[in-house]
C-alpha cells in the first residue's frame, strides 16, 4: 500500500516538475525576447554615440548604462538634452527621441539625446497590465518594431524593493518607486541602480553645461497633468512663450508649474541642482491608463478605447477623448512641435544660447502621415 502511495506521489511530483520545466522554458524564451535591443539607426547628423557611463563610470557594464547620441553644430550656441524612455511604457517619448536621432542636423549648439533613459525598464513588462511586448511602426519601406516596456526598472536588475523608499531628495514613497527613474533625481552615486542612472543623467547635465533639458513622457488620460508642459520656475517665462507659440500653431497645451514639495522628479531636481531650464512634456496615452480596455498593439498605436470615450463623456478625464482616440502619431507630433517651440524661444530668453537645427521633422506631417515617414527603413 505504502509502495503505491509513494509511486503515486513520485508520478505526481515528476509531472509537476516536468511541467514547471516546460513552462519555464517556453515562457522564459518569450521573456528573453524583451532583452533583444531595439534597433535605432544613426542618422546622418550624428557626431558621436557615447554611453551614459562616460558621465558616471560606475554605470559601466550595468543594465542601466544607455546610449547617448550627440549632435555638435559648427557654431557655438546653447546645449540641449532630450530624454525619451524614462518610462518605457510611454512610447511617444521614446519614439520622438528616435525620430530626432534619425533625422536632425545641428548647425549651432549641441544636442544630446537619450532615447532609452531607463534602459532596464525596456527589458520587462508590468505584471497584471497585459501589455504587448512590442509595437510596430509602418515605414514607407517596411515595418519596424519597438519595445513597450515597464514604468519601472526590471526587478531582475534591482531587487528587492524597500518597504518604504526615501528618495535622494528625502521624499517618502512606496517601495516600488525606488525603481522609478523619475522619482530618483538628482540620483545617488552609491545608490541603487535607478538612482545611479539618475545620477549619471544629472552629471551629464552638469558636465555638458546643458541649458535646456526636456524629459518626454506620457500620462494616462485620467491623470490631471496631461497634454502638459511642466516647468521648473527657472524656465517659467520660456514655458509661457512656448505655450503661446504652440497655441498659434494650433496645439493646445496645459501649462503646469513644477510643485516644490514633490521631490525626485526631473523637472524639480534638474532645475534645483543644476543651472538647466528643466521641462517635462506629457501626452495622453490610453494604453497605460487604469481604465483601458483590452491592451493591444492597436491601443498603443491608434489610441482608441471605448472605456475612455465613456469616461470622457461622464467627465472623468482631463483631456478630450472621443471615438477617434489619441493615436501615437498625434502624441509624437505634439512632442515634436513642443520641442521645436522650445528651441525657437530659447534664444529669446537666453541670448547667445540659440540652437539651430535643420531637417527638423514636421509635427504636422507626423500627425497627418504617421511617425513612419521620419523613420529609416528596417535593417
Amino acid at each position: 500500500m505504502s509502495f503505491i502511495t509513494i509511486k503515486k506521489e513520485t508520478i505526481k511530483g515528476s509531472i509537476l516538475f516536468l511541467s514547471i520545466i516546460l513552462i519555464s522554458f517556453f515562457s522564459g524564451k518569450q521573456f528573453l525576447q524583451m532583452h533583444k535591443k531595439d534597433i535605432i539607426i544613426q542618422g546622418p547628423g550624428i557626431s558621436s554615440k557615447v554611453k551614459l557611463s562616460v558621465y558616471f563610470p560606475l554605470l559601466k557594464g550595468t543594465p542601466g548604462d544607455t546610449d547617448v547620441y550627440v549632435f555638435k553644430g559648427k557654431e557655438e550656441g546653447g546645449n540641449l538634452l532630450i530624454l525619451g524612455g524614462t518610462h518605457p511604457n510611454e512610447p511617444a517619448g521614446f519614439l520622438t527621441a528616435i525620430i530626432l536621432i534619425e533625422n536632425i542636423h545641428v548647425d549651432k549648439g549641441k544636442v544630446f539625446i537619450i532615447p532609452q533613459a531607463n534602459h532596464s525598464g525596456f527589458t520587462h513588462n508590468d505584471p497584471h497590465e497585459g501589455n504587448p511586448q512590442r509595437f510596430p511602426i509602418q515605414t514607407p519601406e517596411g515595418i519596424r518594431w519597438f519595445r513597450y516596456g515597464s514604468r519601472l526598472t526590471n526587478p531582475v536588475h534591482q531587487w528587492p524593493d524597500p518597504v518604504l523608499y526615501v528618495n535622494p531628495s528625502g521624499q517618502k514613497l512606496s517601495g516600488a518607486e525606488s525603481r522609478n527613474l523619475n522619482r530618483c533625481y538628482p540620483g545617488k552615486a552609491k545608490g541603487n541602480l535607478t538612482e545611479r542612472i539618475a545620477f549619471g543623467i544629472t552629471n551629464l547635465i552638469k558636465k555638458e553645461q546643458i541649458d535646456l533639458a526636456i524629459d518626454l513622457h506620457e500620462a494616462a488620460p485620467e491623470y490631471p497633468v496631461i497634454n502638459a508642459i511642466v516647468f521648473h520656475e527657472n524656465s517659467a517665462e520660456l514655458a509661457a512663450l512656448v505655450y503661446m507659440e504652440l497655441q498659434m500653431e494650433g496645439f493646445e497645451f496645459r501649462l503646469e508649474a513644477s510643485p516644490k514639495n514633490l521631490r525626485g522628479l526631473s523637472h524639480r531636481e534638474w532645475g534645483d541642482t543644476t543651472k538647466v531650464k528643466a521641462i517635462l512634456l506629457e501626452s495622453a496615452n490610453a494604453s497605460h491608463g487604469r481604465l483601458k480596455g483590452k491592451p493591444s498593439v492597436a491601443l498603443i498605436i491608434d489610441g482608441k478605447d471605448k472605456n475612455y470615450v465613456k469616461a470622457s463623456r461622464i467627465g472623468r478625464l482631463f483631456v478630450p477623448f472621443d471615438e477617434k482616440g489619441i493615436p501615437l502619431k498625434v502624441r509624437v507630433g505634439r512632442h515634436v512641435a513642443a520641442i521645436k517651440a522650445f528651441l525657437s524661444n530659447l534664444q529669446e530668453v537666453e541670448l547667445g544660447k540659440g540652437i539651430d537645427i535643420t531637417n527638423f521633422p514636421s509635427a504636422r506631417e507626423i500627425i497627418e502621415h504617421g511617425t513612419g515617414i521620419y523613420l529609416e527603413p528596417p535593417k
Binding site: 498659434m248 503646469e256 513644477s258
Partner: protein, 187 residues
C-alpha cells in the same frame, strides 16, 4: 434671381456688420491704469502667460503668483488670473481653501483702496472644473472687466456672470489673442 442673391448678400453683409458692431461695443479702452500687480487665483500657470502678455503689451507689471494685500501698495490695477492647478497649488504650498482666503483678502483690500480688478481666464476648456468654477463665481463679480479664452466659456458661465454684474467681457479665441485687448484696456 440674381437680384435676390444680391439682396441676400447685402442683407447678410449688414447683419454681419451689425453683429461685429455689437462685438465692438464690448471693446474697452483706457479704463485701467498702471502699474499693475498680476496674481493668480488657483495657482495655474496661466499667470505666467499673463505676465508675458503684459510684457509684450509694454505694460509696467509685477508678477506675484501668491500676492498678499501689502503688495498692493502703489498699484493702480490688480489683474487676477483665474484657474486652479493642483500642481500649481502644490508648488505654492497652498490648498484650495487657503488660496481662496488669500485672494478674498486681496480683493477686499483692492476694493477698499479703489484699485480696479481685471480678471483673466486664459486656460480655456481644460482649465475649468468644479474648483476653478468656484473661484470664478466668487471673484469674477468683483472685476471691472474680464478677458477670457472662448473655449473656457463654452457653457456661457463667464457671459452670464458678466451680464448679471454689468462687467464688460472680451472673448478671445486663444490666450495669445488677449494681447491686443489687454494693451487697449490700459492707459
Amino acid at each position: 434671381m440674381k437680384k435676390i442673391i444680391l439682396s441676400i448678400f447685402i442683407l447678410h453683409f449688414f447683419i454681419v456688420s451689425a453683429l461685429l458692431g455689437q462685438e465692438k461695443k464690448d471693446e474697452v479702452i483706457n479704463i485701467f491704469e498702471q502699474p499693475i500687480l498680476i496674481t493668480s487665483a488657483g495657482q495655474s500657470a496661466e499667470v505666467q502667460i499673463a505676465s508675458v502678455l503684459a510684457k509684450r503689451a509694454g505694460l509696467s507689471a509685477a508678477l506675484s503668483k501668491a500676492a498678499f494685500a501689502n503688495e498692493l501698495k502703489g498699484i493702480r490695477t490688480l489683474v487676477i488670473v483665474l484657474g486652479v492647478s493642483l500642481k500649481g497649488l502644490g508648488a505654492a504650498g497652498l490648498d484650495i481653501s487657503q488660496e481662496t482666503n488669500r485672494v478674498q483678502i486681496l480683493v477686499d483690500d483692492a476694493q477698499r483702496k479703489n484699485i480696479p480688478i481685471l480678471c483673466l481666464h486664459l486656460g480655456g476648456e481644460t482649465r475649468r472644473g468644479q474648483l476653478t468654477d468656484d473661484l470664478i463665481n466668487t471673484f469674477l463679480p468683483f472685476s471691472k472687466m474680464a478677458i477670457v479664452v472662448e473655449s473656457g466659456n463654452k457653457d456661457g458661465l463667464f457671459t452670464s456672470i458678466c451680464k448679471e454684474n454689468h462687467i464688460p467681457l472680451i472673448v478671445v479665441e486663444r490666450a495669445v489673442d488677449a494681447l491686443q485687448p489687454l494693451k487697449k484696456a490700459f492707459k
